[in-house]
Amino acid sequence: MVATLINEQAEAVVYAPATGLLSYMWLLIAIPAVSALILLLAGKAANRWGHWLGVASVLASFVLGLTLFFQLRNLENRSVVENLYSFIPVGNLRVDFGLLFDPLAACFVLLITGVGFLIHLYATGYMAHDEGRRRFFGYFNLFIAAMLLLVLGNNYVMLYFGWEGVGLASYLLISFWYGRPAAATAGKKAFLMNRVGDAGLVLGIFLMFAWLGSTNYEVVFNNIGTLGSTTVLLIGLALLAGACGKSGQFPLQAWLPDAMEGPTPVSALIHAATMVTAGVYLIARSNPIFSENTTLQTVVVSVGAITLLLGCIIGTAKDDIKRVLAWSTVSQIGYMFLGVGLGGGAYALAIIHLLAHGFFKANMFLGAGSVMHGMNDQVDIRRFGGLYKYMRITWLTFMMGWLAIIGIPPLSGFFTKEPIIVAAFSRPGWTGWLFGLAALLGAGLTAFYMTRLFILTFHGPKRWTTAKEGLVDQHPHESPAVMTIPLILLALGSIVAGGLMVTSVPQWLEPVLGPETAEHPKIAHGALTALSLVLTVAGAGLAYALFRKGTALTPQPAGVLVTAARNNLYTDAFNEAVFEKPGNWLTRLLVFVDNKGVDGLVNGLAAAVGGGSGRLRRLQTGFVRSYALSMLVGGVLVLGAFLAVQLGWMG
């Protein structure tokens, strides 16, 4: 045997060089990137045709992606790499600008460009009257290009490039409407939390670099088995932090719902169907690392379970249509994390849930946009009701999304969520019960709050705002064809995607994620399916019974749990108390010491009172003598440290 298998469980990862049409895979990224550049730099000249260029570039990428996908099917090991050029070629710092096209990347390419194209198309209608439409499409194309780079890179540095790129594009899209302070604040929050996650990713990359000497997937995956288990755990936790930041998972979930402050459901959709799945991609891509350490997997599963319940509970108490969908996104990605954390065959399950979720969540976000479009940008579901008569297509397509997400057979959610619940129950030991029950409970809660959303929006009595209240009179109407056609396409996807993908996609992904594994759940498979269906129907029925007659127009006094859920289960307050406040104190202290010098610290109050005329004469913050004293004290400390360190060694 020539190639020594270092990791006995997994086969050595080998990627073939790209040939023929596949060697043009860089065009996938280049097309939207160039289009973004043109849109952002062309200026007003491009205002009239700019958005169509944006749509066309994504369509071109999609077609190319589809062609490459068929090419890939014919290859034996179904993965090709292409090294474009040597990015950082010095010494042991060797990073190539390389791309990898394999089954996993192909799935994501098709999802990103396919759903991306539909969103683009929809946005031409939704943004028709916005003066910043060209710029919006520029950011949009930038986002697509960065996301494609993220999934196509053949090493972690390329992934990081795309990672930062989608972060930037997302930040720009969230803050797109400058006028709104809430949008700017949300943008800041998203940036902050993502930075925390990004730091984790960066650390993970540097750790790999330190211990494995490379960040290439090939090298990392083939050698991860040589590392000690603590080392693997550290790398994995660092990557997980990155994944949690980007995917809005506990404890970094707070930014995602706020990001829905963005201008339109269109950009909100980015944060629902595509970008936030980057964390799932990262873990699935790194499956050789995560499979190496069971503690690590337990952490991932716990994060998934906590987040899915958190999202469900908070989603139940929200009244803003976009926020409910946002928290449902948080919760659904929790399912995906649960899947990738379980490992083995569940990796592929998480991916098919991700793909199916891309369809039905996109469908519902665009549906919500359509509703808002017809209702003067109203987002409060307490002020909807009875809309099914006025927007038939939106209603029907939204219904498909609703049935899909709560998991009614034969719609897609049933085929993709169900196996994750089964896989959770199959986890050995008592944790199988714990995580399985969490997933099951989540399914019931999901049915409850999604039904509440659906009923309050489309059925029951009209609760629209009126001119008599001093608000706007509503004249709901169906949206134009350019918006409804994507809705119909996505609704079709929501219906059939699950059934089509449930066996084919795991097979297709086998070279990357390993073969399917036989499940041995704690409860018989059939009984489990029946149980989850009963819970789903019960949750939906309860919501129907409670809300079919409408709801109060203002928040009602509520018990502890509901109040807590309305306040995002106090996670924001926690963040504030643990991170923000100490940070502020530290900053204030540093500013004081820096401005006043050590002098100021020593003299304290006396200087403040007795400064007198001297204070008036100074123009800047500090006296030069205070600075000098700071330097002297610093110097003494440095001297002392040098001596102490050396003495410590000698002694």
Binding site: Y85, S86, F87, I88, P89, V90, G91, N92, L93, V95, V157, Y160, F161, E164, G165, L168, S175, Y178, G179, A184, G187, K188, F191, L192, R195, V196, A199, L203, F206, L207, F209, A210, L586, T587, L590, V591, D594, G597, L619, Q620, T621, G622, V624, Y627, A628, S630, M631, V633, G634, G635, L637, V638, L639, A641, F642, L643, V645, Q646, W649, M650
Partner: protein, 516 residues
Amino acid sequence: MGDTISFPHLDYAALWPMLILFGAACVGVLVEAFVPKAWRNTVQLVLSLLAMGAALVMVIKRAAAGVTAANAHTASDAISIDKAGLFLQGALLVLGIVSLLLIGERTLETGGPFVAQAAITVGSEADRRQAARESGATEVYPLALFALAGMLLFVTANDLLVMFVALEVFSLPLYLLCALARRKRLLSQEAAVKYFLLGAFASAFFLFGVAMVYGFANAVDFNSIHANISTSDKPFALLLIGLAMLAIGLLFKVAAVPFHVWTPDVYQGAPTPVTAFMAACTKAAAFGGLARVLYVGFDRSNWNFTPVLGVIAVLTMLVGAVLAVTQTDLKRLLAYSSVANAGYLLVGVLGGGAAGLSSMLFYLVAYGFAIIAAFALLTLVRDADGEATHLSRWAGLGRRSPFFASVFTFLLLAFAGLPLTSGFTAKFAVFGAAIGGGQTWLVLFGVLSSIILAFPYLRVIVMMWLSEPGDTTPSVSIPGALTSAALMVGVLVTLLLGVAPSSLLDLANNAASFVR
């Protein structure tokens, strides 16, 4: 008694760059005396640019001829023109040329950024007259040349005395240049005096350090110091204190915490082109000197300075980043960011070995270009009172001048270390070197501080793009040819080093060796 003095051999090929600059500076002094006032600025500018260009050519010729251990030392081993020294000289000259373009700009306001007569009382009638009409002092060119030549000598100095003299030679003109702002002259003069006094204080530390080291090793040249460290019978504490004091003197110049206190005041008060010059070139020179002291004179053969300098690096990164968050003036913000960047550079230096050195060299060039471009942009945003550097004044600039706001946004993203900018590659290089050198804890803090440091940049971006422009939002002046050139070069290099950094990385890697 012997009647002959044996003159040391001087390798003129190695000394040309410095000789050219010193010579041009002296000619510049004569130009002040003999060329009519109307012509002076043009003559000085052309002379300085030619001199720097010629010096650069000499550096390149020397590099092309090849540097070996045999031909590196000259002038009684007082200087060592080795590969790293040549790289630094080249970098200093290139960055110097770009900053000189800013210094030479005369179209943004009447008479340029410098005061015509520094002796005129601030606020007097004559002062107002000169601010409005008279053309700025042209002595700034010879002073800048003196400073640059001093830096070239500083990074190649092979013994501590030469290093000290070079330190003073490049510092003194900078003190003076700081005092010559055309507007806000009190701030400028105060900055100069502060810089001067604190600089003298730091020089005293350095000099004490030299004395201590001499006491221990009985020599001031790095070669003998290195040889005598292990054989000397003097108390070891003497050497430690000596090195600590040398380090303090140098850490002052690189603006490391707690010796950074001068930075914000001086950066804010100095004329912006001079600030750009200091931020790019002084930093490069000081780090070149620091690396030489640590790598050549006191390399880690039998003892270790990394923990203490590592703590300083961590403090520098964190304090710089946290305080940058609270700044409301852009020049002060960039000053604190430059403090934090000194910390990143220190991480690279402490990475050790050729990788550490090459990452530092790369970082210096990448940062130098970006910071010059950033300050070039600051000179453009102005109102009736000169540059408008208060953050609140930049609100809504993105609406008013989208192009310049985009350029500035790009530069800020580069400072924040976003991929495809030089900021990313440079940070990647220094952190990678530190990881390679087993200093993972430094990288940990480095990543942490770069997260914090992203906020102030973000705040500026938000300010520019997400606020409505007010009545007081200043306009962006159309830059003259010189500023445009400096700005364009800075931005292009920042982009280039982010997208295709391999050639400069190769160069830095090949240059990463000192000759002892």
